[in-house]
């Protein structure tokens, strides 16, 4: 990589940070408990809109992993999410009525909050429907992973997005508040992912899974990206470029081994396809607040008209992280 292109990336990073700085006024604090954050705490950053029914399980899942504090941006919810979150002892909450799209889908807001609060912390940036699974997550808390990453001088940890879906139409089993969504969305695609290396940012571009198979079979390059780097030992100099797909400096995107070995990695189980999905897709279409002219949601809405069933006879039923490891979706690397 030439000096010039390296310098260009540096400028790009600065630009994203300046943009985040400018967008900081869009965030209005609701409850700030950031004073509670201890130097070694693990933090979660998330933006959300109208996710009230999902929140209890989301918070519980990550509290059980050992996350200490949640920093959440509420994008103008009107279903009680804001009030619910404001009551939680380990949540700091901001709200905004500004455009999700123009904050680059929340990235600018979170880049700012991370710059301000996450310096030196292990941070996990996830959506309320994403659940982090890592090697040994059934026996070792998240702190064991981050301690090991620290000892190994690893600063970023990859977790591919794994779309989970039910058998049959999405609305057959309604989701109840507090319920584990993976009692409903139990299935995933185990081996139809496409991997392409992005030479500019040095990350992998992963596409595939049920969404590519059902909604983008004739339009593969538009299928949503599944590569994610959600767990990072944050520094105020870092910036997410596009969702959590890639970051700058680009060294943080080097979460894969190129000499044939396997680095440790996890998965983000994606509980998107619950019965709430149809209403969500409808709303997002109206709001036009999603990526690339909401073409993703447009494709969903067209497909939803015929009650799609993502399940096929080769769908895999989720058991645990070891299953994902054996299937080659994630790896223990040299963590044993």
């Amino acid at each position: 990589m030439s000096l010039i292109s390296r310098y260009k990336l540096r400028l790009a990073r600065k630009r994203w940070l300046i943009r985040a700085f400018r967008k900081r006024h869009e965030l209005r604090p609701v409850v700030l408990r950031t004073g509670q954050i201890a130097p070694s705490d693990m933090l979660i950053f998330t933006t959300m809109r109208n996710e009230r029914v999902r929140l209890p399980f989301f918070l519980k899942y990550y509290r059980d992993l050992g996350v200490n504090h949640f920093l959440i941006v509420d994008n103008d919810s009107d279903d009680g999410s804001r009030e619910y979150l404001a009551e939680q002892d380990d949540v700091s909450l901001w709200t905004t009525k500004h455009s999700y799209k123009r904050s680059r889908f929340g990235v600018d807001w979170l880049n700012w909050l991370q710059r301000k609060y996450a310096d030196g912390h292990w941070t996990l940036v996830v959506d309320p429907d994403e659940f982090f699974v890592y090697p040994f997550c059934d026996t070792r808390p998240l702190r064991a992973l981050t301690d090991w990453l620290d000892a190994s001088s690893i600063k970023s940890f990859s977790a591919m997005l794994l779309d989970m879906y039910p058998k049959g139409p999405f609305d057959v089993m309604p989701y109840h508040e507090g319920q584990n969504p993976f009692e409903i969305v139990q299935y995933f695609d185990s081996g139809n992912y496409s991997f392409i290396r992005n030479s500019k940012f040095g990350n992998l571009w992963i596409q595939g899974g049920p969404r590519a198979r059902m909604f983008f079979a004739n339009n593969p390059e538009r299928a949503p990206a599944l590569n994610k780097i959600p767990l990072v030992k944050w520094s105020r100099k870092y910036a997410y470029v596009s969702s959590t797909h890639m970051l700058l400096p680009r060294g943080l995107n080097q979460v894969f081994d190129v000499w044939g070995g396997e680095k440790a990695s996890g998965c983000l189980l994606h509980a998107k396809f619950l019965d709430t999905f149809a209403a969500k897709a409808e709303e997002e279409m109206r709001r036009h607040q999603h990526y690339a002219n909401s073409h993703e949601y447009r494709a969903y809405r067209e497909a939803l008209a015929v009650e799609p069933d993502l399940w096929c006879k080769f769908s895999e039923k989720y058991i645990n992280w070891r299953q994902l490891e054996i299937l080659g979706l994630m790896s223990k690397g040299n963590w044993a």
């Binding site: 026996t139 301690d147 090991w148 991997f195 396997e262 006879k313 790896s331 044993a336």
Partner: protein, 565 residues
């Protein structure tokens, strides 16, 4: 007689206190060294926590940066204090604050009592160690290392390079033969005092001060000069990964650690409550006389390092994306590619499935869609049959298919009518078995009901594509096992080539083929080729078909299955 424990601590002091108390309460005197970089309040807390114990002492504090002399100096001071304060100590056991005793202390004392003159210390000559990191083994003893490896890596590396270039070598003190080994040892009073009280010690220390990672070589070298009975192994179970840092034990290692019968394990995660609880507060009886047996744990960690350095062959995933030719196997398992066979045999796929004991796919790379066996919409791993998705990344498609069908050999048809982007990938894959009947694509054209002008154009195109593919298969870079037959030779005697192909797919079948697939009727094919020539297109790939090949005058056996007796 008793065993004295020297504890080197720098983090997780609460755990260190817990372990020190465990030793001390079981009549093993403890000397603790705390890194000087630990804050005063933290040190004071540790001191207070152990103040009720009479047989715990604190030694002079040094800065213990990894790879530097400080660790040795700390060990020396602590050992000297141990030997002078606790006269009853016969063995001194060096441990760290993150070590955990796995077996009852009495068992270890008894074990050492039975071996009163044995020094347990891993001590290997530099030629024989395979685990040094950074390629510095003997040079540790002959170069100078004034820069910190952790904080001043650039200067460290440059200075080593400079010394190599100018041929600088330090003189090793006479009588010293460098040995290396694990930092964690257990030495007898006699040996240890001989090392510490040696008249040459100032000179030796001066030399080792500038040696790289002296904690792995100081005692390991000197013990060879004074000890009568060196047992070159460490009593501490400690495994290192490929970066040279110790593997860490967690709660889920409990059973493994229990069964290892090792006395002490390093390194324990400070928050592994279950381990500390199991081995310290509820320490039970093990097998009294069992020798340490860390085999299972060794295997576990060896496998982990292998996964990190070699990975699973044929797997492309989010954290494994090898550079080209570094894959250690582009695909997981052997697979067979058939070009032209389904054009000249009428029932080739079912036949192949039967004799090879697998499901044979159609043209996986066909332009309209992926023709999986049985024309499935999806295949293993939920691989879809969309040609657009496949063409988006044909490499991923093929590696996925082979990975998803682990344990079952994949066979599929290929041809010049298919998407050709995958050709180079397959040709360079040692797992690919590619069998080609050249020119067989002309048979469907011959049978088709198209206008001859279109047939001629189509034939010219397919011939061009196949020629290109053949040049790939014959290139010096190709690693696939390739067999190529011209159509004319193949139809002359199809059984021998078929037998050789099938033998390779299932080498253990051992039986001769008894049933051949049905060869399509080629009556008039020779004339068809002649017609192409007459129209100005030169078919070169079919081999020598006489113009009257397959004319009605021939034997009339065509179209029947071959029977082999």
């Amino acid at each position: 007689m008793s065993v004295g424990i020297v504890l080197l601590c720098h983090t997780a002091l609460d755990r260190a206190a817990q372990v020190a108390r465990h030793w001390a309460e079981r009549n093993c005197p403890v000397v603790i060294h705390v890194d000087i970089r630990v804050t005063k309040p933290a040190y004071q807390r540790l001191f207070d926590a152990l103040s009720d114990l009479g047989n715990v002492q604190f030694s002079a504090r040094h800065a213990c940066e990894w790879g530097t002399w400080g660790i040795v100096a700390a060990t020396q001071d602590a050992c000297a204090l141990m030997l002078s304060t606790f006269r009853e100590v016969r063995h001194v056991f060096l441990a760290s604050g993150s070590c955990l005793p796995l077996r009852p202390v009495e068992e270890m004392v008894a074990y050492l009592d039975q071996r009163p003159r044995t020094d347990f210390i891993e001590s290997v000559t530099t030629e024989d160690v395979g685990w040094t990191i950074g390629g510095l083994d003997f040079e540790r003893f002959t170069l100078r290392f004034p820069f910190s490896w952790r904080k001043q890596r650039w200067f460290f590396d440059r200075y080593v390079k400079l010394q190599r270039r100018v041929g600088f070598r330090r003189k090793i003190p006479t009588g010293t033969v460098p040995h290396m080994g694990s930092q964690w040892w257990c030495l007898t009073r006699q040996t240890l005092s001989a090392i510490l009280e040696s008249p040459d010690r100032p000179e030796i220390d001066r030399y080792f001060r500038k040696v790289w990672i002296p904690d792995e070589s100081y005692f390991q070298t000197l013990v060879r000069q004074v000890s009568t009975n060196v047992e070159s192994r460490s009593l501490t179970l400690s495994k290192f990964d490929f970066q040279g840092k110790p593997h860490i034990f967690y709660d889920d290692h409990l059973q493994l650690l229990r069964r290892s019968d090792c006395f002490v394990a390093r390194k324990i995660w400070p928050h592994a409550d279950l381990l500390y609880d199991a081995f310290l507060t509820r320490a039970g009886q093990g097998q009294a006389a069992a020798e340490p047996n860390p085999g299972k744990i060794n295997r576990l960690f060896t496998k982990a390092v292998e996964r990190r350095t070699k990975g699973r062959a044929g797997l492309i995933m989010q954290s494994r994306y090898p550079n080209e030719n570094w894959e250690n196997g582009r695909t997981l398992a052997p697979y067979s590619v058939f070009q032209g066979f389904s054009d000249i045999f009428e029932n080739f796929e079912p036949w192949l499935g039967k004799v090879a004991g697998t499901r044979a796919h159609g043209h996986l790379f066909a332009p309209d869609k992926v023709h999986f066996a049985g024309e499935e919409d999806e295949y293993n791993g939920a691989l879809p049959n969309s040609s657009a998705l496949r063409n988006y990344n044909p490499r991923s498609f093929l590696t996925n298919l082979i990975w998803n069908t682990r344990g079952e050999r994949q066979c599929f048809q290929f041809g010049p009518g298919d998407d050709q982007t995958i050709c180079w990938f397959m040709a360079c894959d040692p797992n690919a078995q590619i069998s080609v009947i050249t020119g067989a694509w002309a048979v469907p054209l011959f049978k088709s009901n198209a206008n001859f002008g279109d047939i001629r154009r189509q034939a010219a195109l397919l011939q061009k594509i196949e020629l290109e593919h053949l040049s790939i298969l014959r290139s010096p870079y190709a690693k696939a096992r390739v067999q190529i037959w011209p159509l004319a030779d193949f139809v002359e005697n199809p059984m021998a080539p078929l037998q050789s192909v099938i033998d390779e797919i299932s080498p253990r079948a051992m039986h001769r083929l008894t049933e051949a697939p049905r060869l399509t009727d080629l009556t008039g094919f020779g004339q068809f080729l002649q017609n192409l020539r007459n129209q100005g297109m030169q078919p070169v790939l079919m081999g020598d078909f006489p113009a009257d090949f397959g004319a009605p005058t021939s034997t009339g056996r065509r179209g029947r299955p071959y029977l082999v007796k």
